[in-house]
């Protein structure tokens, strides 16, 4: 396309002017985009669009004047664009009579426009105006934006208490706006209301040290204190991962149980009945016939059933390996008592007892049995049964518990973190001011982040 060329629009220059109040030199860095500029020397707010810099307001500053941590004029790269810090302000709110202040930095790039950094107690947020309207949720204190749900955190009146540098709007010290914050960590959506007009902006939590690197500042960023409203939880993702893994492993555990129960031999290897005459004194011990325990080393379950009725029998057992002489020595009591009293019938004990002998090697075995009981109580009949390779449910319960412990631990720690976060909010604890509320919001955030795709 033939081009006689545009008339060059000229390269905009930085402007140096003198403050009409005190004569100090001011440099305007926004090429005419600033609406107000502050003279640091005499604390006057001047009209940046007026070539004579009309004075709009002069404000008082208490001793110990704020100095921006990011000096005005410093440049840093955020999201691939270089910005220059050109403005700084301090705003405060009052909650329960206690003032809280935070700082805001105005960043400028002549092509990309303005961006803002907010800092409170060492927590930083990278903020920019929203270009779409968020929709207020059905429950009064949530809003939705781009498919994400934000919880209302706080509404307060913010007053500007100190300004420095250039601003693309009419700042005045002492003016108040109603600010509402809605959080969905690491993001926060804020609304500022003056009269009828509402402006929306979105902030994203950014670590101080990343900003220090971006702006190449000396020293360290201030250490963050406490948990900030949209500070991302270092535990949130871990909670999700851990519970997913717990579910996977619990399923595997169940599958393992099915496998074990279906492949265990659970083989009866010995059973016999005996009668113990308590009237007879003398050596009551005897040995059984030999039986074989087959297969690999595994457990043996010995069950004693006795017809004791308001009586007891104690059996000294020894399971002796015929070949190696190795023995398992143990004693089992079977006792059963029952009766009636004022509260009705009662019973204690049982007529059956089982014991599991661990890791019994295969081989030929016999039992040495020696019964005991109160003398002169007649005959007690009892039956001894041995089963080989019987699966035990106890280890599965133990395994399940062990798998759950890390998940419970990490969920508890995460809930603690969230509790600290919400302690600063209008709700002083959790959105529903209850433990269930905290669980609810944690669960809904986990659900949100799952719906939003992998991080």
């Amino acid at each position: 396309m033939s081009d006689q060329g545009p008339v060059p629009a000229g390269t905009p220059q930085l402007k140096s002017l003198n403050c009409p109040n005190c004569g100090a030199t001011l440099t305007l860095r926004t090429f005419g985009q600033a609406v107000t500029v502050v003279c640091a020397g005499c604390h006057s707010i001047l009209d940046a669009q007026d070539p004579r810099l009309k004075i709009l307001q002069t404000f008082q500053v208490a001793t110990g004047e704020d100095r921006p941590l990011i000096p005005l004029g410093t440049r840093g790269t955020i999201r691939g664009t270089k910005y220059e810090a050109i403005g700084f302000q301090r705003r405060s709110i009052r909650v329960d009579g206690i003032p809280y202040s935070w700082h805001e930095y105005v960043l400028f790039n002549p092509y990309q426009g303005f961006r803002y950094l907010t800092e409170y107690d060492g927590h930083w947020n990278d903020t920019s105006p929203l270009r779409s309207l968020p929709s207020l949720g059905r429950v009064g204190n949530t809003l939705t934006y781009l498919g994400e749900t934000y919880q209302h955190f706080q509404t307060a009146n913010a007053t500007t208490s100190f300004v420095l540098g250039e601003f693309p709007w009419q700042v005045r010290v002492g003016e108040s706006v109603e600010v509402s914050d809605y959080v969905s960590p690491p993001r926060v959506i804020s609304s500022e209301k003056t009269g009828n007009e509402v402006t929306w902006s979105m902030g994203e939590y950014i670590a101080g040290r990343d900003l220090w690197k971006a702006f190449q500042l000396a020293g360290d960023a201030p250490a963050p204190i406490g948990v900030f409203e949209n500070q991302p939880s270092p535990l949130r993702a871990n909670v999700r991962t851990t519970w997913t893994m717990v579910t996977v492993f619990l399923t595997l555990l169940v599958a393992l149980a099915v496998a074990v129960y279906s492949t265990a031999r659970d083989e009866p290897v010995f059973e016999d009945s005996y009668s113990y005459n308590t009237n007879v004194r003398g050596e009551a011990s005897f040995v059984t016939d030999m039986f074989e325990l087959k297969g690999h080393t595994s457990d043996v379950v010995l069950t004693t059933s006795a017809d004791v009725d308001n009586n007891w029998i104690y059996l000294n057992y020894a399971l002796i390996n015929e070949d190696t002489g190795h023995a398992y020595d143990f004693g089992r009591e079977v006792s059963y008592y029952h009766g009636h009293d004022a509260d009705g019938s009662w019973s204690e004990g049982g007529q059956k007892d089982s014991v599991t002998l661990p890791s019994v090697a295969p081989g030929h075995y016999y039992l040495r049995i020696e019964p005991e009981s109160d003398p002169h109580h007649g005959n007690i009949s009892y039956r001894v049964a041995l089963r080989r390779d019987v699966p035990q449910i106890g280890f599965f319960w133990l395994g399940g518990l062990l798998l759950l412990i890390p998940a419970l631990l990490i969920s508890w720690r995460s809930m603690n973190f969230e509790h600290l976060r919400w302690a600063e909010s209008d709700y002083g604890g959790a959105p529903s001011a209850s433990f269930l509320g905290a669980v609810e919001s944690a669960v809904s955030s986990v659900k949100d982040s799952m719906d939003g795709g992998d991080e």
């Binding site: 008339v7 990309q112 303005f114 779409s132 309207l133 693309p168 009828n196």
Partner: protein, 209 residues
Amino acid sequence: MTQPSANCPNCGAKVTFRWSASVQTVCEYCKSILIRTDLNLEKVGQVADLPPNSSPIQVGTEGVYGSHAFVAIGRIIYEYDQGNWNEWHLMMNNGTSGWLSDAQDEYVVTFAAPGRKLPKECRVGQQYAWDKETYVVATITKAHYRGVEGELPFQYWNKVDVVFVDLMTQAGKFATIDYSDEDPALYLGESVQFDSLKLKNLRTFEGWS
């Protein structure tokens, strides 16, 4: 594309139209506002010195919006209590006209949307539906015309007070109702990120390469 040209009736300089459908242009040399009645140019006014403005876009800036390339060929500058902003007239590569609003480096691309029923007056918070989208009135700005540059698709100069109503949707769409004429005009579009326009031939700023 043919580029019709004529001579400025005021100073005689050659005036070329990059866009065949331009109705008005400004002579680059003497700043006369010229109306085209097919290639007879009539001077109707003069542009006062343009205010110092910091738009990174200039006449001749090229870019891409959606699937169309464009060139910025003119603009209207408006002034209001918070400063000023530019409405850049874009010539799309399919011959149509678009507008790129640059307000403190926030960019919105809109296109004329004729034939809709428009309210005589608006209030902040009112909702209107066009093209199956719900637009909510976000701001009402009283501005006045401050200057023109380059080629425009209609006659525009010396407007006194102009009321602009800006509407936003929940999906980033944007609408403006321009009340400068008796018949309000509607423009529909969306806000865009600077990078997505892939602008070339921008102005340079001192200290920024």
